[in-house]
């Protein structure tokens, strides 16, 4: 079955340190992968996506993600965390059996401490 896993419910990072939010997937064929961020009481905002090409994808707010086909992972990273990065982060992959649907991870709460 197609699935996306975010193994950490919460990640705590000190401000200025690098951060990683993990995502692994299981889909048939070539994956279309996405990261979204949700700030409190707001809708989700698109951060970045991988469809093809360079395995390192750069997105909004200084975030980047690395596609690793052998490990079926798409971890979100940022070299230096800001307190304002504290939010809920969702990984998603396109359902290969549908052109319109995404399979979503359960989300990871990122807390950046001053």
């Amino acid at each position: 079955a197609q699935s996306v896993a975010q193994p950490e419910d919460q990640v705590n990072v000190a401000e200025g340190n690098p951060l990683t939010v993990k995502c692994t997937y299981s889909v048939s064929g070539n994956p279309y992968l996405f990261w979204y961020v949700q700030y409190p009481n707001r809708g989700l905002q698109f951060l970045l996506k991988y469809i093809t090409g360079d395995n390192l994808v750069k997105g909004s707010y200084g975030f980047e993600a690395e596609f690793n086909k052998s490990q079926t992972s798409f971890h979100l990273k940022k070299p230096s965390a800001l307190v304002s990065d504290s939010a809920l982060y969702f990984c998603a992959v396109r359902d290969p059996h549908s052109n319109y649907q995404l399979i979503w991870g359960a989300g990871t709460k990122l807390i950046i401490k001053p």
Partner: protein, 113 residues
Amino acid sequence: TAGITQAPTSQILAAGRSMTLRCTQDMRHNAMYWYRQDLGLGLRLIHYSNTAGTTGKGEVPDGYSVSRANTDDFPLTLASAVPSQTSVYFCASSERLAGNEQFFGPGTRLTVL
């Protein structure tokens, strides 16, 4: 540009009552979606529409209906609300395929008592 608007922002509804959640986008996107977000479960797709005049069922369609009379509007109706439909509902849109990013509205917080 407003993007996607949803109304109401929040609502308390008695069980058994009906309600329509409104969603309007001004980006001329072909595809639109309704999700519910529940703690620990992430986002679950309720219904979607890939173009005006067509709709499809998502992961959790029971108890909900949608229509897509035009490109801009995608209302979600609960015919007879039940407490398990208490959730935050998000409307989203994308240009065409799921290879395109989805744009989300601010959400409607619904409580069914």
